[in-house]
Amino acid sequence: MDYIIETHDISKKYGDFTAVDSINLKVPRNSVYGVLGPNGAGKTTLISMLCTILHPTSGSATVNGYDVMKDSKEVRKSIGVVFQSRALDDILTGREHLEMHAALYGVPNNLRKQRIEEVLDLIALGEKADEFTRTYSGGMKRRLEIGRGLIHHPKVLFLDEPTLGLDPQTRESIWEYIQKLNQQEDITVLMSTHYMDEADKLCDEIAIINKGHIIKSDSPKNLKHELKADIITMKVDDQEKFLNEVKKLDFIKNIMVVDSNIKMMVEGGENLVATLVNFANKNNIMVKSIELDHPNLEDVFINYTGKRIVEGA
């Protein structure tokens, strides 16, 4: 397998706090790779190290075959980065941002015009391209930033929370761009997100990261498959009593409590909904609601990072 990004026990410490703890990441070429985790999990720190603006405390990483510490300039030439926080100058136009970026990345003069037109086409800024970016909507700013990251035809595009703070419609359109991009260009996308649906929809492979560690990495499909289970979510009046009783049932493989929802993993959930309701009634527990779900990434995530009450059954 051909990996375009590889890290070897890469770590970043701030005093006593370890933001990224010995992460080993292997990102296949031309994939869309997702780093999924809650806020503060270390996603941005990891990306900052990979794009050379933060130095790792220990460990190493290569991007496009270049070491992020020793060949940082070559790494920078190989990558495009869209930061989580906006990085636009509000008194420049969209086109000027692209021109400036092309110049900073040494795109040859005779290619610049054409590249800029290509990108403007892709990100569909239309007439707004020649207006100051302070007049742009959140989605347009994001699209401009993504487009800017593409001007120099990077091998890897880093997207740090690309749809954070955008409305659902805009998120959908950004997703479409990312998919289109990955299909049309010879490019690997490494994105961080804490939206499960985003990771599920876009990524070929996902690393679940929590407190600076990778907990699990695989394709979304395999991760979901691994749960091998349907999920029955219940709300009851006496949660504690119900948990104590339900533990004894052997068809329940795992129980988690998320907020006031009891999530139980079972096989063949269709047949068990009635059984569980009857079981609750028999124990004088009132069922407020019951729901059957096939697993999604969110469940995978809770399974690996969330509060687990009962292991196995």
Partner: protein, 255 residues
């Protein structure tokens, strides 16, 4: 080659920003005019100007006010790197394959350009204070303004390298900008001062810039033009190189 391109690009952005903030240009011309016309005329008619200084007080402070304009513009533009950092734009530049010194040089040249434009506007307004402008004076002043503004831009960039937020702005004003202005001899002759003040005045790099400009514009310098020019150029080289070094070293703290 690509480093030149980087310097040019960063300079170009800085210059564009300056030209687009019209209100800033306007106020940066009006402020010195207020100094010259109100302060200069007012104090000029109240005091008898002594010891070998000829001409009006307004004309005397004219080079000083040019120095002041350059000082304020350069330092505050340098400090604007803090805003770039807060708005995230600095990251976009830092992650580009351009060396840290090139970023500093590009910035300093851009800031210098803005300051020089203001200085030139003031030079063109010299008739207001009754100073005769000739092509030679104009060109000599213009050349002097280059190291003065680049050196002060370096000071601004150095401050930005060590400051996290714009909250330190007032401190910079009180502890750096105002003392540099007041001690520079922009408003009074630096000869015949009490010795403690004299010593501090000669520690202020702006003193040499103002003195050189005054020598060139109204022919009344306290120091030989050659010496003051040398100090000004040396100061510019020193701050810019230091800013480039520290900016590279503190890169991690700037993120």
């Amino acid at each position: 080659m690509s480093e030149w391109e980087g310097i040019y690009t960063i300079w170009f952005r800085e210059a564009k920003r300056y030209v687009r903030y019209r209100s800033r240009i306007l106020s940066s011309v009006v402020t010195p005019l207020l100094w010259l016309l109100i302060f200069g005329t007012g104090l000029g008619s109240a005091i008898k100007f002594g010891t070998g200084i000829t001409g009006s007080y307004k004309a005397f402070i004219f080079p000083g006010i040019i120095g002041q304009t350059i000082l304020f513009t350069s330092i505050f533009s340098g400090v604007s790197v803090i805003m770039d950092r807060q708005y995230g734009f600095l990251k976009e530049i830092m992650v580009a394959p351009v060396s840290r010194p090139s970023i500093v040089f590009g910035k300093a040249l851009g800031i210098g350009t803005a300051s020089i434009i203001q200085g030139v506007i003031l030079l063109l307004l010299s008739f207001v204070v009754g100073v005769q402008m000739t092509p030679v004076i104009f060109i000599a002043s213009f050349l002097l303004m280059i190291p003065i503004s680049v050196g002060l831009a370096g000071v601004g960039l150095l401050i930005a390298t060590f400051t996290d937020s714009m909250e330190g702005f007032n401190l910079i004003m009180s502890f750096i900008v105002l003392p540099m202005f007041l001690l520079s001899g922009a408003l009074f002759p630096v000869t015949g001062l009490p010795s403690f003040l004299q010593a501090v005045v000669y520690l202020d790099p702006l003193t040499y810039g103002v003195d050189a400009l005054r020598q060139v514009i109204i022919g009344q310098g306290a120091l030989p033009l050659y010496d003051s020019t040398l100090v000004v150029v040396g100061f510019a080289l020193f701050t810019i190189i230091l800013a480039a070094i520290l900016f590279s070293e503190r890169e991690q703290n700037l993120m």
